[in-house]
Each structure stands twice: as C-alpha cells, then as structure tokens.
C-alpha cells in the first residue's frame, strides 16, 4: 500500500490486501435509475450536481476504476448509535488525512459533524465547510451532493462505514457523503486523493484553527505531552502523522504503524504502574484495522479485525513512531 496514504499512482488503493479490480465495473442497467427530483424550492437539483468522478471521466476520458452506484439501500446519514470515530474507514484513495481527521472530530466533537451535514430528504445532502482566508478569517462554503457513490465489490470504494447494531447491519452515510462533498469542493476525488493536511479537514468541520507540532524537537517531549494532555482533556480533535514509508521504523510489523500515514489520536492517559506513572497515547488507524492483514498474521495479531484500528502506545514509542501531532482548536 502505499502506505496508507501514499498511494503512488492513479488507482488510489490504500489497502493492498484488498483485490484490485481488473477493469471498470460496468453500470448495470438496473442501477440506472433516475435521480430523485428535488422539490421546486430546492436551490440545487440533483441532476445539476457536479459529480466528481463523473466529471473526471468526462473531461479527461481517463478510466474511472469504479462505477457509481445509486444509494438504493436506504442507508442513513447517521446510524442509530450516533457519530463516532469507529464509523470511519478509509477506502481505495490516498486521503488518510481526511479519514483520520473525520474520525478525530467524530471522537472529540461529534456534534460538529451533525451540525455540518444535512439530509435534504430529496436524495441529496448538504455539507458545510469552514476555511480560513489570507487574514485567517473564517469563511463558510457549502456543497450539496447526492448519495451515489463509487462502488467496488458492492461496497463504497472510498470512505465508508458499515457496522452491526443489535445484529442488524447499517451503513452510515456520513463518512462517504462528507468525503464526496469534500471531493466536489476540491474538484474531484482525484484532486483530493494525493495526500493533504489533516488540520485543514478538522478546521473545515469545526471552524477552529489547527496547529501542528513536531514530536522530535529537542527537549520538547514534556511540552508536547502537556499540549496533548490538555487537548485530550478539553476534547480537542487530534491527529498524528508518520514519516517516510521507506524509513526502517515502518518496516517492522511489530510496530504496526505505517509511513506517510495519518492517524487519529483519540486521547492520552496516565496510568499508575507500581510507583511510576506511565504515559500512553490512544491511536486509531483510519483503515479501521491496525495492520495490514499480512503483518497481522506475521505477528499473531488476532485482534486486527475486531479492534477497529484502535491501539495504545507508550509515550516514548509514540514519539519514536510519529513525527508530528496536529491539534484542532
């Protein structure tokens, strides 16, 4: 995988263990249903929406690896158990920065996501984004998209959320819809699928400015801990980024952390162990699993498929593996 985010080429597929489609899946005739019509008073008709993948295809004639599939499962924007980090799973595109940021805001400020996204009840959804101008002033921008998503193997190809609640499988639309609206805002999935700054996505959701700090500064370990502890206590969204994928730190499957990748920081904690206080950082891989399947098998990680990508690192190990931390707010 690229590593995660570092998908190298045009077919952004972050998780190599997943089979690669051999060719574009043809749209089935049965899927060619007319898009829902917006009420007359709606400002945007679904058929007028810019569909990022389709736009790319029409303009460049480049093969789009995935066919769009209509949202015909009755999927809901938000599931019955609310917005949470575990809803987010990165798909076959180099936007770990976006997935990690969505999960971080979902964990720390779920209401920010609820307030940013609106189901228009006509098959479309409107997402409100914040951005900062040259002077650092906050401005607002909104995008409306429909629920049609690029699919592969009958699942959304990009960000997705599936989970079982009370034995019933739900698909929550919000990660997919937020990603689609973000792609539309930036021009296309292709345009936003070559890496990015997770702090910008957190800012887009919360309207708060993000700041990034290095984990490797001399003598700054305590200052960084203090900053992260305060952010954790105050429920501020956080992400962490790793260094180059060719780095030896990311070649060890035991470490279970990958290069050029963005992670959600769910929080930090201090625990008394004997007469010592140990520091830990709770991380989450936006793949919703910590390791690639092959690495999990190699190290005997039997929880890889069930832990949702969440894992805990000792402070020193966190600083060894991660190069930067971004705090929003």
């Amino acid at each position: 995988m690229p590593s995660h985010d570092s998908k190298k080429k045009k077919n952004h597929r972050p998780q190599p263990q997943q089979p690669k489609p051999q060719q574009p899946r043809p749209q089935q005739p049965g899927q060619q249903q007319p898009k829902p019509q917006a009420p007359a008073q709606a400002p945007v008709k679904p058929r007028d929406l810019v569909d990022p993948g389709v736009t790319r295809d029409e303009k460049t004639k480049a093969p789009e690896p995935y066919a769009y599939k209509k949202n015909d499962r009755g999927a809901q924007l938000f599931g019955p158990d609310g917005v949470k980090a575990g809803d987010v799973r990165q798909g076959y595109i180099g936007d770990c920065y976006l997935a990690a940021a969505m999960a971080s805001v979902a964990a720390a400020k779920p209401d920010a996501i609820r307030q940013a996204m609106k189901d228009n009840k006509d098959g479309t959804f409107t997402v409100r984004f914040y951005e900062l101008d040259y002077s650092g002033r906050k401005t607002v921008h909104s995008e409306t998209v429909d629920g049609d998503l690029p699919h592969y193997n009958d699942m959304p190809a990009y960000a997705k959320s599936t989970e079982k609640v009370d034995g019933k499988e739900y698909m929550e639309m919000w990660p997919s819809i937020f990603e689609k609206a973000y792609a539309q805002w930036k021009g296309s999935y292709e345009e936003m699928g070559h890496g990015g700054i997770s702090g910008d996505v957190m800012t887009a959701l919360t309207g708060e400015r993000s700041s990034q700090v290095s984990t490797a500064g001399p003598g700054e370990a305590d200052a960084l801990w203090t900053k992260m502890k305060a952010a954790s206590d105050q429920k501020k969204p956080m992400t962490a980024g790793t260094g180059g994928e060719e780095d030896a730190r990311y070649k060890d499957p035991k470490a279970g952390v990958y290069g050029w990748h963005a992670y959600t920081v769910l929080g930090v904690e201090e625990a008394k162990e004997g007469d010592k206080t140990k520091r830990y950082v709770m991380c989450r891989n936006p793949w919703a699993k910590r390791r690639r399947n092959s690495d999990a098998a190699a190290v005997g990680d039997t929880t890889n498929d069930t832990a949702g990508g969440v894992f805990k690192l000792e402070w020193a190990e966190f600083r060894r593996l991660y190069d930067n931390v971004t705090v929003n707010g």
């Binding site: 790319r56 021009g187 990034q212 700090v213 490797a216």
Partner: protein, 278 residues
C-alpha cells in the same frame, strides 16, 4: 500558541527598513550549537553560521536572520522533519547563503511554513529534501508572504510540487531561481492550490518532472483559485496543467516556454515557444 500575525517591524529582518544586518551571534558548526543559539536568541537577532554542517530539523518561533558566513554552510535535516519549520504566526525569517538538505517531512522537507508571517530566502540552495505525504519537497508554504531570490532547487522530491508547494492562502515572489531535477507525483517543480498566489520572475526550470508529466500545476477549489504569473522565465520541458476540474489563473510574459504550454498559460506578450527537450 499563535502570536500576532504581523511581524514586529523593528524585529523584521526581511524589512527594507531594518538596520543593515551585522552578525550578532556566531554559531559554530556541529553538535547542537544551532539549536541552542536559536533557543537563546532574542527576536530580531542576526545569527551568522560558520562553515560546516549544522544539525537542523528545528522549529523557528521568533523573527531571526540566519546567514551563512561562507559558501557551503549546510543545514542538515534529520530525516524526521523539515530542516526548518515555522508553526506560529508573526514570525519573520530571513535565510541567506545557506544549503538546506536532507529534510524529510509530510510537507516542505527543507522548509515548512505553517504560520502567517514573512519568510525570505536569498542565495540559498535546497537539495535532496522530501515532502512525501503532501508535497513541496524543498519548501511548503501555506500562509503569509514568501520570497525566494537567487535560490537553487536541486533534486528535491515531493508528492505534489517536487520543489515548491504553495497552498491555501499566501503570496510568493520567486526571483531569479533555478529548478533542476526535482520530482513529484504531481508537478515536478511547482504546485499551487487553493488561493495561493505566486509571481515567478527570471527563473529557470530544467528537467523537472511529475509522474503526471507536469512541471507546473495549479488547481483551485469551488470557493477559490490560485494565481501564478510567469515573467521572463525559461522552461525546458514538461507540461503545464491547469485544473483540470477547477482552473486557476496563469499568465506568462517574456518567457521561453514549451510549445505545449501555449494556450494554457494566458499570453501576456513577448513569449517565445519552442519544442520541449525530450
């Protein structure tokens, strides 16, 4: 953590009104001399770096000048962060006669500017730096004012923008610089996105390639677009990509450009078009 966005003019080393710089602190090469000097320096200090290799990967949080006392003064990155980075607003930094090399960061392996301030690099060389996750192998700037004058960008690698990536809302002036052998997935030399604005004058681009074939690429969003003005620049090859989905503004005047750029860059007059080098 963010200070006021405008640098204090009295401490702004990039200000024309600033007193003629004199070396206030001499910094020996090696060890952690530079890190300690930065820690101890008061805002506005002019540090002169002695010849040799200075360990860097350092965060600049106050307005300073770093001046190489002779040719070959190297700021060496650790490979775990940018050689230099600025996180806070209100910092004015001037780099003179330095070589920044060996940095590796998600963005801006040589220099990453996140804070809104003013950064000026003069007679510097950026070589063999990596901005691997986002881009700007040599330099990534996303806020404030950036000026590069008589600089060389050699063999840097970035995901977007092998040498430079200008992002979000900022302005750049690039004057009499050379870009050689830089590589990226997108835009071998320079990438502009969002509302970034750049004036690139009297600069030369040789053998810079993105995997997408581009030397320079700009693209906007549905809320804002970038602008780049090329003035008396020379480009030996590679493509210019504007968009494709959301195009920015690009004009060229008095430039020598590959024929393939014709019609993509608005013709400001006086351009000559030639076949790209293979």
């Amino acid at each position: 953590m963010h200070a006021a966005s405008a640098p204090d003019p009295a401490q702004d080393p990039t200000s024309a009104a600033a007193a003629k710089p004199i070396c206030q602190v001499q910094v020996e090469a090696g060890g952690d001399h530079l890190a300690r000097a930065l820690l101890e320096a008061t805002p506005g200090t002019h540090l002169c770096l002695q010849p040799g290799v200075h360990s860097a990967s350092l965060t600049i949080s106050k307005s300073l000048t770093l001046h190489g006392n002779a040719d070959g003064v190297i700021l060496q990155g650790s490979g775990r962060d940018s050689v230099l980075r600025i996180d806070d607003d209100g910092v004015a930094l001037r780099l003179e006669n330095l070589i920044l090399q060996g940095g590796s960061a998600q963005a801006g392996g040589g220099l990453a500017v996140y804070g809104r301030g003013k950064v000026q690099v003069v007679d510097c060389t950026f070589r063999d730096n990596v901005g691997g996750m986002v881009g700007g192998g040599a330099i990534y700037v996303r806020a404030g004012m950036f000026i590069a004058e008589r600089c060389q960008f050699l063999n840097n690698r970035g995901r977007q923008g092998g040498a430079l990536m200008f992002d979000m809302a900022m302005h750049a002036d690039v004057l009499r610089c050379t870009f050689t052998g830089n590589r990226a997935e997108i835009a071998g030399a320079v990438r502009l996105s969002e509302a970034a604005e750049a004036d690139i004058k009297a600069s030369k681009f040789e053998d810079n390639r993105g995997d997408d074939g581009s030397t320079l690429r700009l693209s906007g969003t549905r809320s804002r677009v970038p602008t780049v003005r090329l003035d008396h620049c020379e480009v030996d090859g590679g493509t210019l990509i504007n968009g494709p989905e959301i195009q920015g503004h690009i004009t060229a005047k008095g430039c020598k450009l590959p024929t393939a750029w014709k019609g993509i860059a608005a013709d400001g007059g006086g351009n000559t078009w030639r076949a790209a080098k293979p």
